[in-house]
């Protein structure tokens, strides 16, 4: 118990020092920090999600936590311990994810019936494909939809999209990656 506490304090002090260096632009310290806190975030989030009885894609959750930490790094005060600051971000991100999941579940209905038009000629024209794609994009979660609209439809560069949306470039890349995964799932193989 005492050893655990001592390790927590030691970790917190080391991560705090790395974050302080990262605030000054030290890329190596930041890389080390993120690599060490990612598994911690995974464990903390898994514990919270298990308590809520929810199964989420853990990598998605961890990535969202790292992106939030990245956007919040200017708020870390080196005079204060790192762990409470980090734990608050993990807690916020997990709870926010659960709230968002509940909102989506309230709006979505599972449909088991297989559409009967797959084999007809009309269902396979390019106009219909475009329409289906448009509908699928409209159904994407807001962050993913925004990434598709800016990067694919408006053909903005990552830097332009980042400036327009306020999201970081890595956050946009993650959103775009997830949007493509979601669209693949919606539109079939």
């Amino acid at each position: 118990m005492i050893n655990d506490r001592a390790k927590h304090l030691e970790d917190s002090a080391r991560w705090g020092a790395w974050m302080q260096a990262a605030q000054d632009g030290d890329q190596v310290a930041y890389g080390r920090l993120l690599a060490e806190v990612a598994p911690v975030a995974r464990r903390m989030a898994a514990r919270q999600l298990a308590a809520s009885g929810v199964a989420e894609d853990m990598e998605d959750v961890v990535q969202e936590i790292l992106l939030t930490l990245h956007g919040a790094r200017h708020t870390y005060d080196p005079a204060r311990p790192f762990l409470p600051w980090f734990a608050a971000i993990v807690d916020h991100r997990v709870k926010d994810g659960l709230r968002s999941r509940r909102r989506h579940q309230g709006r979505e209905t599972d449909i088991d019936a297989v559409p009967e038009t797959f084999l007809s000629q009309a269902a396979n024209t390019s106009a219909t494909d475009r329409m289906d794609l448009g509908k699928a994009v409209a159904k994407l979660p807001a962050g993913q939809r925004q990434a598709v609209e800016m990067l694919k439809i408006k053909e903005m560069s990552l830097a332009e999209a980042s400036a327009a949306s306020g999201q970081s470039v890595p956050a946009l890349k993650v959103a775009m990656h997830r949007a493509l995964k979601t669209l693949k799932g919606m539109l079939g193989p």
Partner: protein, 219 residues
């Protein structure tokens, strides 16, 4: 994108950031911006003619001192809450002066009620201070919003509620210097009531007022 790749992306494109100042330092900045504006508003309308008598009245001192302390404590708590890891219990720092403000106004109302009965309520209908309170609190509110948007509140409803309370309470304290004729009932309904109402309203729209890209989910 896998997590290792994301870590590589985030660290390789890392730029130095300007560290957020402590809540105390940002409170100082807020006061440095707000006090001259409130002084200018007071100067524009002119000090109330009975100010010397008011300053000799304990009830006036306690009431407006409590309003001022509520404003300062709520502003500090709002600024402190814009850093992840803020303990909600620290927001209670604003509760003590706010309760003192409410109690002093309530005690005055009771005294007016005993002296004049129902007619003591007439002033509530005839004297409406909400536009003046909003007017005096507008610049402090805008300055505080700007300072808060530099931070990152994980509880924007609480932060916005505290910020509105800070601006309204400070506006009310400044108003007492140039606006005369306020009875205890007016203070309770229009000053304390406005602060509570504006605080609740800001709380309801907190996430829109203080939205930070880092707090929204990427997908």
């Amino acid at each position: 994108m896998n997590t290792d790749l994301l870590i590589q992306e985030l660290s390789s494109g890392l730029a130095p950031v300007k560290r957020l100042a402590s809540p105390g330092r940002r409170l100082g900045l807020w006061l440095a911006g707000s006090v001259p504006v409130l002084a200018a508003i007071t100067g524009f309308f002119g000090l109330r003619p009975d100010l010397a008598q008011c300053l000799a009245d304990n009830r006036f001192i306690i009431q407006n001192g409590a309003a001022l302390l509520t404003g300062l404590a709520a502003a500090w708590a709002a600024l402190a809450s814009s850093v992840p890891g803020f303990k909600r219990s620290r927001a209670m720092v604003a509760l003590v002066p706010a309760l003192a403000w409410l109690a002093s106004a309530g005690e005055g109302c009771w005294a007016e009620w005993q002296a004049n009965g129902w007619s003591s309520l007439d002033s509530v209908v005839h004297q409406k201070c909400l536009p003046e309170i909003v007017g005096s609190g507008l610049v402090p509110a805008l300055l505080l919003t700007l300072l808060l948007r530099r931070g990152l509140s994980l509880n924007p409803a609480l932060t916005a509620g505290l910020a509105a309370l800070a601006a309204a309470a400070t506006g009310s304290a400044a108003l007492a210097l140039f606006h005369d004729g306020d009875t205890a009932w007016v203070t309770l309904t229009w000053h304390v009531g406005s602060a509570a109402g504006l605080s609740a309203l800001a709380s309801a729209f907190g996430s829109r007022l203080l939205n930070h890209p880092a707090t929204s989910r990427p997908a």
